[in-house]
């Protein structure tokens, strides 16, 4: 697979020296080698696709470019053929970044958002803003890039496409200002998943804008999972896997399938399903649960059967709507329509709230452990028992010593390593925190357990323990919905896998159909032609 690429520029014989050249870039976090001797060069006018699964090292590489991550020694970088030392200072080298969240201020106007960065730097205090000149510059900029967005509209009133375009145009404007301030000729624009929230028919406007930025002489790095867009706009792609650069290829004859092949591990991981295999005969007493026509967030009419005793993996890229599913089914995010059937009963999803969901026997393990899952300043006991305090009340008072003894047993059962059930959550490691969060719901034998990235930031040992804890919960009769972008994990744990693309279900894979290749291909590919 290794590099046999010919870029368009090379063919046409106007090969320019790279504006940025990275060599031997490595970064280690403890035991994890996030980047391993990676090379990358970006030429003026070139658009490069940076591809890789989650955890492949893409974000570390972008972090190094933006100066927020310091690479390990031995890493080298040249800008305009001059070697410089890390960390990089984006303004000085005329680098500009657009991240998925766009970093616009929603309550300010388009013009104000364009002007902010100009005055954000130190030493600008007290310099008056010349609004008329700023408006003139903004108009010129918009004209140059063929963008028409009203300058006085507030950003939160803009359609998503206009927001993305504004963020990119602003990035180019910042970049040009750095060029002037620091006397740099070239420039580099890094776009991290900018198309995620755009409907497919609007993407081409954004891609046109990216092309125009490159035509203006900038090097562009396009980080994305959106393979059709990558093929459309990039001249070549660079693929990372487990921190290593594993392929560089021209996009001339690439297809989404051929690119997704490059991102997969060479030998598909042999899966230790025994850690987490279903019981011979799962309990059948629990009522079946079905989601019927769920509309909410980016989901457009999703119907799914959730069987008690089984783990349903849900695969989908960011923006596919998969990430919203657990929150919608818990009432934490309000659905616009659809019903939830439990046995013979039906509940309109629009009326579902977290207290109602909890009373129905649902549990939610959110991805944001500290912000949404656990009260980190409180103790393990206070967190695990919050849902079932009543049982510790005797003669009108909570018996804390009794509660502590019970939680001691819970800690053993859920393999929470701690010196005491009265330890505060902040004192625990990520893996142990996650086990507390799982114990909080599982110890009450939930009917439906909704998981979002349940092993995020968790070490390998704890991860396997979490797999078996959740399998145990399934065997006890819970229906489990497991949402993650780590598709290898889904292969390991799922009895069924549902694949979501653009807010719709495109495949419902039975146990024997589950493979990393299938899930990746289905989730990455455009919805067209792949619908099951």
């Amino acid at each position: 697979m290794s590099s046999e690429f010919t870029s368009d520029l090379e063919v046409s014989g106007v090969l320019q020296p790279p504006f940025v050249r990275l060599e031997n870039i490595s970064k280690r976090y403890g035991a994890v080698q996030a980047l391993d001797r990676v090379e990358l060069s970006v030429r003026p006018g070139e658009i490069i696709g940076l591809l890789g699964q989650n955890g492949s090292g893409k974000s570390t590489l972008v972090g190094i470019l933006s100066g927020t991550v310091q690479p390990d020694s031995g890493s080298r970088v040249w800008i305009d053929e001059q070697e410089i030392s890390f960390p990089l200072v984006p303004e000085r080298h005329a680098f500009s970044f657009v991240f998925q969240h766009l970093a616009l201020v929603p309550n300010l106007t388009v013009l104000e958002n364009l002007v902010i960065p100009e005055f954000a730097q130190a030493g600008q205090l007290g310099r008056p803003i010349n609004w008329r000149a700023a408006r003139r510059r903004a108009r010129d900029l918009f004209r140059e890039f063929g963008v028409s967005i009203p300058l006085d509209r507030r950003v939160n009133e803009l359609p998503v496409l206009d927001r993305a375009m504004l963020a990119i145009v602003r990035a180019v404007a910042n970049l040009r200002r750095s060029q002037l301030d620091h006397g740099v000729d070239g420039g580099m624009l890094v776009l991290d998943e900018p198309t995620v929230f755009l409907p497919s028919k609007e993407k081409r406007f954004l891609l046109d804008l990216i092309r125009r930025s490159a035509d203006a002489g900038l090097g562009v790095v396009f980080v994305s999972h959106d393979l059709p867009s990558v093929i459309d706009v990039c001249s070549r792609v660079v693929v990372l896997r487990n921190g290593q650069l594993v392929a560089e290829a021209s996009t001339h004859e690439a297809t989404p399938e051929s690119l997704s092949q490059l991102m997969l591990p060479a030998s598909l991981r042999t899966v230790a399903r025994d850690v987490a295999s279903p019981e011979e005969q799962p309990r059948t007493t629990a009522l079946p649960i079905a989601v019927d026509g769920l509309v909410g967030g980016r989901l457009r009419g999703l119907s799914l059967n959730l069987e008690p005793g089984t783990i349903l993996g849900v695969a989908g890229l960011v923006g596919s709507g998969a990430q919203e599913l657990p929150y919608l089914l818990f009432g934490a995010q309000r659905a616009r329509g659809g019903r939830l059937k439990i046995g013979d009963g039906a509940h309109p999803l629009r009326d579902l709230t977290p207290p109602v969901a909890a009373a129905l026997g649902f549990g939610l393990v959110p991805a944001d452990r500290a912000g949404e899952g656990l009260a980190t300043g409180l103790t393990i006991a206070e967190n695990t028992e919050i849902r079932r305090l009543k049982r510790y009340v005797k003669h009108g008072a909570l018996r804390r010593s009794w509660m502590r003894r019970e939680v001691g047993k819970v800690c053993v059962e859920y393999k929470v390593k701690t010196r005491s059930p009265n330890a505060r959550i902040v004192e625990l490691s990520g893996g142990n925190q996650q086990k507390v969060l799982i114990a909080k719901w599982c110890d009450a034998n939930p009917r439906l357990l909704l998981l979002h990235e349940p092993t995020q930031g968790v070490d390998v040992v704890a991860r396997d323990e979490i797999y078996s804890l959740l399998r145990k919960a399934a065997n006890a009769g819970a229906a489990i919905v497991w949402v993650t972008t780590d598709f290898e994990e889904l292969v390991t744990v799922s009895d069924r896998v549902a694949v979501l693309v653009d807010g719709a279900l495109t495949a419902d894979l039975a146990s024997e159909q589950i493979s990393l290749e299938t899930i990746t291909r289905l989730a990455l590919g455009s919805s067209a032609g792949l619908a099951a």
Partner: protein, 334 residues
Amino acid sequence: MAVADAPGTTEAGDVEVERRSSTWMESLALPAIWIVLIIVFAIAEPGSFLSSENAANVFGSNAALLMVAIAALLPFVVGDFDFSVGAVSGLSAMIIADLNVNHHVGIVLACLIGVAIGLATGGINAAAILTFETDPFIITLATGTIATGVVYAISDSDTVAGTSQGLTQIVFNDELLGIPLEFYFGLAIVAIAWYWMRLTPSGQRALFVGQSREVARLTGIRVKRVRASTFLASGLIAGLSGVIAVGAAGSADPSSGPALLLPAFAAAFLGMTTIEPGRFNAIGTTIAVFFLATGVDGLQLLGVQDWIQDIFYGGVLVIAVTASRLLQRQRLTR
């Protein structure tokens, strides 16, 4: 050990010893400073400060402040603010005095009306804040200011004196162990607040809401209901403190209610450094109230003018908030 964990447990903590030793030191800091303060005043003013009359004065004349501090504490527990507690206490007191003195309403009925007004203000705060998700800071500042305005309107900016002797008898003149009964009324409120926070499921849920609204919501706790009930309880207790204030003074002074706000806040934050360090708690607040009372009392005996109160309360609030913030940061990183 017994101090840090005592309420609600029957057995001494076993596994907790190593961590608890440092928490234990923390939780003793405020009582230790209190003792130092007493020793200093005892040396400076041995005759008057150490007398039993003075002790009875410190303990027996701060029940209204103690209750207002508990009223301030409850919204803090769930992560809210109630800046109206002092003014509501004053409003309750003034309504009781005005009804009783100027309109010849029986004292029992007048007190019930005063307390009901306190509860109603809590309800207004809850409704205004929770219905439209507005900032409790601003809303309670506003309702408190309105309450004070009403007090001045009712009283013509003057003290209303001559309230029921019966009430004064029960609140102030009758004594137990040499301390006026109001002290024990205050302690009763503390006990109820402590019981609720420490020994009931709803108190635990309130603690959760105070730690993180989002976590509480995603746990299935009815966050708004919990917040509303603390505003109601806060208003109710502020109303009750008005009864005590009228009883103790035999009159209602339009400026006395709002003056309770700052020391009440100082006590709630200072109380956070002791008993259950890092958490708002009722017993710590109580200790803090009497610590503040001791300080003001001693300074006044030393002949310092009344303005020392404001400076002392303000200074302690700054120190208390800083100290509890530092403690919190320390526990988060430890």
